[in-house]
């Protein structure tokens, strides 16, 4: 069974601790994405699960078995490397067969599995070629095929798309998702591309500096980022941050003064804050609406993508960049002044000291999801 449990896993390379007390439970059959900035420990965590790296402390269970002492081969995992790591001197067929031969599978079973995987990945025409005679995308499929024939409990992918061009990346992304739906095996997928994370994952694990920042479904993380890091990391362009102060605390929410005589209403738990507290109000570009009054926004330039437009600018008299999103065509002049207000219920409030989000008011939790 492909469920995975990490308990207080720590990893140090010499004096450098790169993973701190990681706790994580992954259910069987889920597609889980580890995402985070470069050097945050994603690969290390994946390699620890694979057994390619020892842990300094903690426990790992796969399918209820303690696997800490087990070799990679005994863990019933398969890994797709960023470099693919295909055996260059073996044909595609031999690459796929190698693991099964080592496990002393019968020839007929090996051939059957290879044909099945080759069919699934459409690599039948290349079975007798060497890896160097394949394109990047074809190599990628072979690497996935080598994982599939093992019939593992868990698939591990370390940035498998990073060597592909943009178009192929989108296509392969969809294929991996389809593959997951077809074979329903647990997949753990490392990437630093938040689009991959958002589009592929059942569950995203956001890592930063060797710690888990938040775990949840893509939309949970998007709608309710637990802290400033997650808020800033997911969503593109990134969430805008407005500096403000708590000006009033009422039944339904809290009023935040961000200047300009135009108070903002945030639906957060009144008990979580106090009058005068400095806060950061987070608003995604798409969650600003234009109005007759509100925060004065000075447009500097805009990017038209046809169906949507991003306008870059600042609040009047400030220097921090603010980005707003409009659907359709929109062409503000440089220096043009617009009034913007956060859409009701779409504002996130953070404590700048701790970086944590202030909890939402209870009845506001289940806001209708708007897809980003």
């Amino acid at each position: 069974m492909g469920n995975l449990k990490l308990e207080n896993v720590s990893k140090a390379f010499g004096a450098l601790t790169v993973l701190h007390d990681i706790n994580l439970a992954i259910e069987d059959g889920k597609f889980v994405v580890f995402v985070g900035p470069s050097g945050c420990g994603k690969s290390t965590l994946l390699r620890i699960i694979a057994g390619l790296e020892d842990i300094s402390a903690g426990g790992i269970e796969i399918g209820g078995r303690d696997v800490v002492q087990l070799s990679p081969a005994e863990r019933k995992i398969a890994m797709v490397f960023q470099s693919y790591a295909l055996y260059p001197h073996m044909s595609v067929r031999k690459n796929l067969a190698f693991g099964l031969e080592n496990l002393r599978f019968k020839r007929s079973e090996i051939d059957a599995r290879i044909m099945e995987a080759a069919r699934m990945l459409a690599i039948e025409p290349y079975l007798d070629r060497k890896p160097r005679q394949l394109s990047g995308g074809q190599r990628q499929r072979v690497a996935i095929g080598r994982a599939i024939v093992r019939n593992p409990d868990i698939f591990l992918f370390d940035e498998p798309l990073s060597n592909l061009d943009a178009a192929l990346r989108v296509q392969t992304r969809a294929e991996i998702t389809r593959l997951h739906r077809e074979i329903k095996t647990t997949m753990i997928y490392v990437t630093h591309d938040q689009v991959e994370a958002m589009t592929m994952a059942d569950q995203i694990v956001v890592l930063n500096g060797g710690r888990i920042e938040q775990v949840g479904s893509p939309l949970e993380l998007f709608d309710n980022p637990r802290n400033l890091f997650v808020a800033g990391f997911l969503g593109s362009p990134r969430m805008n941050m407005l500096k403000g102060k708590v000006a009033a605390i009422g039944e339904a929410g809290v009023t935040i003064d961000a200047g300009f005589g135009s108070p903002l209403t945030a639906e957060i738990d009144p008990a979580s804050t106090k009058m005068g507290q400095a806060v950061l109000a987070g608003v995604r570009p798409a969650h600003f609406t234009l109005a007759d009054k509100g925060l004065p926004f000075i447009a500097q330039y805009y990017e038209s993508l046809g169906t949507e437009t991003y306008v870059y600018g600042t609040l009047e008299g400030q220097t921090e960049q603010i980005i707003i999103h409009r659907t359709g065509h929109f062409a503000p002049g440089t220096g043009e002044r617009l009034f913007i207000t956060p859409a009701a219920g779409r504002m996130h409030v953070f404590d700048p000291e701790t970086g944590l989000a202030l909890p939402r008011a209870v009845e506001q939790r289940s806001v209708a999801h708007e897809h980003a």
């Binding site: 390619l52 081969a73 490397f81 790591a85 080592n102």
Partner: protein, 331 residues
């Protein structure tokens, strides 16, 4: 000055040299034109190669067709293929005694046996050493240097050191005596002396081949081994199915180089065995050539040259194979 690290000193020295060299080079380039500059740089090497390598080869081929004991070609009679005939005339090539130049054929057989044993032993020892050094062992650099060190020594010094070690009253016998083993006159016994000629040769050259193999091993990507670990490959299967095939080109280069060098065995064996002894047990082809030409006033320059030409042809064939492999490796 004391704060300068060695590489920095090197860099600065290089800058200085480049600065000094640049002005005249620029002048030369203006004089000769850019197109002709490469030939200018190649010229010294080509001239030296011509005088000290190509010319002697040509002269040796010429000598091979002359007879007598005179030194100067002009004084030597042309004898056609007589020298080659003399070398190759044989009732049964397997029995050197039945050949007209029995010493030549003894030398050939000795050399062939030496090549067989030496190539096998050196290849195995170098491979095992490289495999061990390739693991993340402590002080790898130190061991690499230790194994490479003999390569830097002069063959005569190597011969002398080992002779001193293996002599009747040498170090090895002293050690054996301490262990209660009766002493052996290693260098005067046919089997032992041949054995030690191989041992010395392995010890002398293995560092060089270890280095080539180690470079090959280190060029194998780490993640292939990780993939193999996930693929449940045992250490033995990893060695046989991953490491050795990927090391193949390097092994091939080592094999050919080793064969070429082994055929040329001479100086350290000559010193170690007091001129190929006991008897002719360690007489090799180069030694035969040397003795015919310069040993005991024989002055058979024609015969020696003919033998050189024959050996040269064999080496040429091996070298061509090696070049071919080298080109194949690059593509």
């Amino acid at each position: 000055m004391s704060t300068l690290r060695l590489p920095q000193i090197g860099e600065r020295a290089l800058d200085l040299v480049m600065g000094i060299v640049e002005a005249p080079i620029n002048g030369l380039e203006r004089l000769m034109g850019r197109k002709r500059m490469p030939y200018l740089f190649l010229a010294p090497n080509l001239v030296l190669f011509g005088i000290f390598t190509f010319l002697p080869i040509a002269i040796a081929v010429g000598y091979a067709f002359t007879g007598g004991t005179e030194l100067f070609v002009s004084d030597r009679p042309f004898v056609g293929f007589d020298n080659f005939r003399q070398l190759l005339e044989c009732e049964d090539y397997l029995r050197p005694g039945s050949c007209r130049e029995s010493l030549f054929w003894t030398a050939i057989w000795n050399t062939l046996w030496f090549v067989a044993f030496n190539v096998t032993a050196t290849l195995l020892v170098a491979l095992v050493t490289a495999l061990i050094l390739n693991r993340a062992i402590a002080a790898r650099g130190f061991f690499r240097a230790i194994f490479f060190y003999p390569v830097l020594l002069s063959p005569v010094v190597i011969g002398l050191i080992w002779k001193w070690f293996l002599d009747r009253n040498g170090l090895l016998n002293a050690l054996l005596q301490m262990l209660g083993v009766p002493p052996e006159i290693f260098l005067l016994e046919v089997g032992w002396s041949r054995f030690f000629v191989v041992v010395v040769s392995v010890w002398f050259h293995m560092g060089f081949y270890t280095l080539i193999l180690l470079a090959g091993l280190q060029a194998i990507p780490r993640d292939l081994y990780e993939a193999a670990a996930i693929d449940a490959a045992s250490p033995r299967r990893t060695l046989l199915r991953i490491t050795l095939p990927l090391l193949g080109p390097n092994l091939m280069v080592v094999l050919i180089l080793l064969m070429i060098r082994s055929v040329q065995i001479f100086d350290e064996a000559w010193v170690l065995t007091n001129g190929g002894g006991p008897g002719t047990a360690n007489s090799f082809i180069v030694q035969y050539i040397y003795q015919m030409a310069f040993g005991s006033d024989l002055r058979l320059f024609g015969l020696a040259s003919a033998a050189s030409v024959l050996m040269g042809l064999v080496l040429l064939a091996l070298t061509l194979v090696q070049l071919r492999l080298g080109r194949k490796m690059e593509s």
